[in-house]
Symmetry: C2
Subunit: 198 residues, 2 copies
């Protein structure tokens, strides 16, 4: 892999709680630092499955879950990011991730809208109505976008992206790569940006 | 529990990697902020056991372990804290924790010396020779200190401290409490200090 100087990859899963503040902040911070940003949606399910988990670790380990919601509340308050506990956790981000992959230049706006639906608006992000509404409000052609998202090629592309995540030792989200230098967690966003500026 | 304004509790386990930079920093930061510090050694073993782990999660989840050592290396470099991967991980911190509980006003110095032995000097902190050396260099009476550490009352006190950790939903280390406000991880030390100053 070539040096990642000047470029940051943002790996995220739409169900992931700490990916929410990261998604809302990453483009602003990258732009301010003059760092190129690549959006990398992927699925945590297969990765957690390989660790023996069939649910979010925040549900499996109850004390960890209670702490996470408190911590996330503090983080969002400090960053002025609205937060309402989702009606269901974790939500299924599969459809949203497929749409993100075909969103082209709108991927940042689409990603933030899906996270907002999930973590601020208590909407069901696995529901096509929610996603159609988001795509339409962004001025995208909903029918064409869904068609592109559901091609076998695009489904394979999301699977390939998740396989790449596994191969590159990603075990959680959000995750940042600067070249091959890994940064795990919303807490490491600033460090990753600094690394990319080197 | 009364308000914790002006006071921070630092909960730590001598085997815990991220407790190392926290232990080396906490007293300096608390002093600078005019915040009272309480040292709270405890054992993570029973807590991890209750989560179904009989080893450090950094050993159970290999990718997480690889990332942690890289992340810890970056953190220690940024803070000018020496780091050499321990000859064994995790080490058994039971004897050191019992000694910490009877170290009185020397608990900060003793704690930093044990972490340094573990994470910078590749020493065996379960070995009484290592611990005797630390206690002696601090000018403490080794024989009397070991005798106090090994009384049934002190063994029970460490068990009670670990039970309190479980009761208060502590699931990892380092951990900070400001009153009942919980902060998990070296990354949250600054936030916890800020909270204590409120």
């Amino acid at each position: 892999m070539a040096s990642g100087a000047g470029m940051i990859e943002f790996w995220y899963e739409f169900a992931s709680t700490y990916s929410y503040p990261a998604a809302m902040r990453v483009e602003r911070l990258a732009k301010a630092a003059g760092v190129e940003l690549r959006w990398k949606p992927f699925l945590l399910g297969p990765i957690f499955g390989a660790q023996g988990w069939n649910d979010s670790p925040f549900n499996i380990y109850a004390a960890k879950g209670r702490y996470m919601w408190k911590d996330l509340t503090r983080i969002c308050a400090a960053e002025d990011i609205p937060l309402e506990k989702p009606f269901k956790f974790p939500q299924n981000g599969l459809k949203a991730a497929r749409l993100a992959l075909v969103a082209g230049e709108r991927i940042g706006d689409f990603t933030r809208a899906v996270y907002t639906a999930n973590f601020a608006e208590q909407k069901d992000i696995a529901d096509e109505a929610t996603l159609t509404d988001i795509v339409t409000k962004l001025g995208m052609d909903a029918e064409a976008t869904f068609e592109a998202a559901n091609t076998p090629e695009n489904k394979a592309a999301l699977k390939a992206q998740t396989d790449e995540a596994i191969k590159r030792d990603i075990f959680g989200a959000p995750w940042f790569f600067v070249g091959d230098e890994p940064f795990w967690g919303n807490d490491r966003l600033e460090d990753a940006i600094k690394w990319a500026k080197k």
